[in-house]
Assembly symmetry: C2
């Protein structure tokens, strides 16, 4: 029987068995949605950076770089952190580096995993298909917010688990996430529109980002971490 | 507006603002249930210990000491960790030290709080009344299991929040816990009977402990941490 668990914030990843597992990184608002959208629109590889400076430094290696602080594109960055910036294909065939604190922490804490993939509502069905075809136990690692649990990431974890067959045994964290998603299955978008991070994005005038990030199954791709290039590729 | 948040495991407590808050320590199976039951049955103060050896050493200071490993009372201990051991009042007027890893961690991580109290289903209404009468923001710190989220503690956190008036603003963690409890409000006992920790207790033949720990409102007491004696008192 395969096992699936949910890590609600990167900081407690060390308490879970990571080695040999399939890890799904979840940062709905907005890093993993932006990564999936960028790659679905032609970006060929994506690197995540903890610090803005590390990100900007990657320009020398030919990366398009993206980052915001307080909702405004940082000086020296080519793009902001919005998935919407990639919809017109401007950055197709380019390498993209994104500055994201919580998302990068989630990846850094998961490096002992057998495989690391990127999940968001936009590729939910593709993620489920990938998990189903894999023999590995699964860890859904939520980026959360500054080490705290966040609704949007936990809701997505629940959406993943709710679609899996019963062959997965239910750890407490997985069972709670699944219950939570199923409670809101018919109105999860409205629920996510009122969570803490949604309010932060609204204050920055980014309602369009929220609306985009909660849409299911826009793309059929699964970005996967390459341990040699240390980037996500298809 | 008062704020309430849920910390799913002691290890992420540092990511939450603890200073100046009212912290409720939650370890349903079984430390906080045992502490509340012991004190409701006459035990005058309770100390928690991370290590069995530290606990046994307290016998010299006149403490009755309790601890189990793999469900069996540890050599040198006076009692096990079961709340049922205190029901007949044998230990009334005594001091009790309990060896509990996750519960002690939860307390140790919360020492900067303004007040620390002990919560469990057995004193749910008393906890709610205490929170309502307090002006402090609240942190519900779940002991969890080895740094992981656990159903019984998170469910209780949700039960606390579900009973509070709307004056508490809803952080994501609080909203998820409340939603989770409300989903199972009519059958939370059955739900808790199937969680990971319940299965561990069943394997040890402790169904009677599970059944006792999920009962609401047996006692009207709120054990509170005394920073001078470093024990819980009434």
């Amino acid at each position: 029987m395969k096992n699936i668990e949910v890590v609600v914030a990167p900081e407690i990843t060390p308490n879970y068995e990571v080695e040999g597992k399939l890890v799904v990184i979840i940062d709905i608002f907005r890093a993993t949605t932006t990564i999936v959208t960028a790659m679905a629109n032609g970006v060929k590889e994506v690197k995540t950076c903890l610090e803005v400076e590390d990100c900007i430094a990657l320009k020398k290696q030919g990366f398009i770089v993206g980052g915001e602080r307080d909702g405004v594109k940082v000086d020296g960055m080519d793009v902001d952190n919005s998935p919407l910036s990639f919809l017109d294909g401007t950055y197709a065939h380019q390498k993209f580096a994104i500055s994201t604190t919580n998302g990068t922490k989630a990846i850094d804490m998961s490096l002992k995993a057998k495989e690391i993939i990127i999940g968001t509502f936009a590729n939910l069905s593709a993620i489920n298909e990938y998990i189903n075809l894999s023999d590995l136990d699964v860890l859904l690692v939520c980026a959360g917010w500054k080490g705290k649990m966040s609704t949007e990431d936990f809701m997505f974890a629940g959406a993943v688990i709710a679609s899996l067959p019963e062959q997965y045994c239910s750890a407490d964290s997985a069972d709670i996430a699944k219950s939570y998603f199923l409670k809101y299955v018919s109105n999860y978008k409205e629920k996510l529109d009122t969570c803490e991070h949604a309010f932060r994005l609204k204050k920055l005038g980014k309602q369009d980002n929220i609306d985009f990030c909660v849409q299911k199954d826009l793309y059929k791709i699964v970005p996967k971490y390459n341990t040699i290039t240390k980037t996500f590729v298809l």
